[in-house]
């Protein structure tokens, strides 16, 4: 599969993960969600370890070929950052609605921002990173879906995370967004 195909599959999985995470959080509650995410995290680490020591599982290898970017230094690093970010957010925040708002930004906001941003015409260059205005706008709009969970606070929340996402920070977005969201809710 070519690079563009890989990126499309990655984004479909990224946005599609909402179908798994949201129902578990909203129906099962925070504790069950935390157990579920931690279980996935440990299972993912075990699969990574088995792969490293030479035990390759066919189905995992097929999926990896479909979604892993070429020349990646650490296999599965995007998923690890994603899960660590969610674990920090859901272990610190007590309110299910706040965790759901963070998932909106992380899954819907970030997922659509990178798809739309790729075809954006208005680019802004900050240091070595180039971001599109359309991508940032998409991030803001789709993060604002959190309005259904946290009310009008969602606008300031989305604006804050859009700024964070726009900055050329050296952390992975999958980690940065849930951690920045957690800090937002701990302060406001």
């Amino acid at each position: 599969m070519n690079e563009e195909g890989i990126e499309i599959v990655r984004k479909i999985i990224h946005i599609g993960s909402a179908l798994v995470f949201f129902p578990i959080l909203i129906i099962g509650g925070r504790e069950l969600f935390l157990v579920f995410v931690f279980f996935i995290f440990v299972a993912f680490l075990i699969v990574l370890n088995l792969r490293e020591i030479g035990i390759k599982i066919a189905i995992v290898e097929n999926v990896r070929e479909m979604v892993e970017r070429k020349n990646v230094k650490i296999v599965g690093i995007g998923v690890l950052w994603f899960l660590i970010g969610i674990l920090i957010a859901s272990s610190l925040l007590k309110d299910v609605k706040e965790i759901a708002a963070i998932l909106c930004a992380l899954i819907l906001g970030d997922g659509t921002a990178s798809v739309i941003g790729k075809y954006g015409k208005f680019k802004i260059r900050i240091k070595n990173s180039e971001k599109s205005v359309e991508g940032a706008l998409a991030f803001f709009i789709f993060s604002s879906v959190s309005l259904i969970f946290i009310g009008e606070r969602a606008l300031i929340f989305s604006l804050f995370l859009t700024l964070i996402e726009f900055l050329p920070l050296k952390f992975d977005d999958n980690f940065l967004i849930p951690v920045a969201g957690t800090i937002f809710f701990l302060i406001f």
Partner: protein, 141 residues
């Protein structure tokens, strides 16, 4: 038996000796030991900083526990963070399963002693994994 194990691990000296022993087992070269030291120091610093920023009280403050309640704050668990970062350091080794199991057991012992909540332990694991990935990422840059 879990109570004895939990009390045994609650001792700071025992914990430090165990961390040292587990670090030495996985160090083949001097460079490995330096990397392990950096990850463990970073983990400890972040845990300490978070404890004093967040100021979350331990569960044993509110109810009687089987041991004396530690004076420091609760979130995140230092024991869970340190042992999980050690487990992460063995991610590319066959011994990973043992280190992972041991770190999960340590986390369970902290909840059993009521010095930490489930959230503190999960938070500790996440911080431990973060520190390993952060250093690994820096190294590969």
């Amino acid at each position: 038996m879990l109570l004895e194990f939990s009390k045994f691990l609650n001792s700071e000296i025992i914990t430090l000796l165990l961390v040292l022993l587990l670090s030495l087992i996985i160090s083949r070269k001097r460079e490995d030991l330096i990397k392990i030291a950096i990850v463990l120091i970073l983990t400890s610093l972040i845990v300490l900083a978070l404890k004093y920023i967040l100021k979350i009280e331990r569960p044993c403050v509110f109810k009687e526990a089987s041991i004396e309640c530690p004076k420091s704050y609760s979130y995140p668990s230092w024991h869970a963070a340190v042992f999980f970062s050690l487990a992460m350091l063995t991610l590319r080794m066959p011994i990973f399963a043992f280190y992972l199991f041991f770190s999960l057991l340590v986390g369970l012992s902290r909840i059993y002693l009521e010095v930490h909540t489930f959230e503190d332990v999960i938070g500790g694991y996440a911080i431990g994994a973060f520190c390993y990935l952060f250093i690994e990422n820096k190294k590969s840059e």
